[in-house]
Symmetry: C2
Subunit: 160 residues, 2 copies
DNA sequence: GTGCTTGCAAAGACTTTGCAAACTT
DNA sequence: AAGTTTGCAAAGTCTTTGCAAGCAC
């Protein structure tokens, strides 16, 4: 299921991102493109470090600093979403799909992060916050859980 | 509204914690007591660093390392709850009260963290997770919001 | 050419850890 | 006495930043 050529969707997203850069008076550089392309090598959630590795596969002039400097731009432009799993590092995920509110379900055994649509949660959080006189910027529901398959069998086929 | 003498509740909690320590073959030390007492000097949510400051007020032999070493014990014993606000440091809060599921509503202007009961969320997260074959350990709903009062008036009376 | 970008390495912020002395039980 | 705990400072981890050279526009 490897993706050989860049999909239409990816190219559209790239157009959006480079427009975003230009509109802010920022430059469209080879490194930024490398980092951008590396996003689509990622599988689900990834860290800055993982992104660096993949970006370097595509363009070995990419440095760690540039990855760290690009990530906020990718988040701001909406290409990437920051996923806060609490402990450990920051995780990111490509935000191709939806505007929907997502809950993160983190399996403590598999180390897998599931993203689950949870529109109801959004409504709920908003309602509560408005009662407090607050204007919601973003919300996250995070669930940490153990894998029952792992508990019973001692292993889990979701294990990466 | 300063609390001069340790309340019954605090003493009960201390008893629970020292029993917890003993049951694990750990020692009840002056520093651990100092850190424990400092918990009740904290106002709402606090960081390891803040706890260190207050613990040192009560017992100047308490070191940063001991605070960092104690916090996991306090969490494990249930005295303290870790509150993950995403960015920034780890926060903690005393867990005197409830077993209820709490949502954290973080005001980006006030820097205040509100804890809101959200029993429905708990049900929801559990339901979703069980469908995935996962056994929920804990969950958190975090809402980041802006203070409408701040936006309109340029200040906020909740500001600390 | 102007001024944003880059890599590098150093610096930062926060947390953990090795070790010998001190303390709890 | 035996084994846990402590403070200290050093080491770690992840992320940010200063700087001079290099690019995009």
């Amino acid at each position: 299921m490897a993706k050989r050529k860049k999909s239409k969707k990816v190219e559209e997203t790239w157009d959006g991102f480079s427009t975003f850069l230009t509109s802010k008076g920022l430059r469209v550089t080879g490194q930024r493109r490398g980092i951008f392309d590396a996003l689509f090598e990622e599988d689900g959630h990834f860290t800055a470090e993982q992104l660096l590795v993949h970006a370097r596969n595509l363009d070995d002039t990419v440095s760690r600093a540039t990855v760290y400097r690009s990530l906020p731009l990718l988040v701001e432009s909406g290409v990437v979403r920051e996923v806060d799993v609490g402990h450990d590092n920051k995780f990111y995920t490509v935000n191709l799909n939806s505007e929907n509110f997502k809950a993160q379900v983190v399996c403590l055994d598999c180390d897998t992060i599931y993203e689950v649509d949870a529109p109801f949660m959004e409504w709920y959080g908003k309602t509560v916050s408005e009662k407090l006189g607050l204007d919601v910027q973003d919300q996250r529901l995070q669930v940490r859980a153990e894998c029952t398959q792992f508990q019973h069998l001692g292993s889990c086929d979701r294990n990466k």
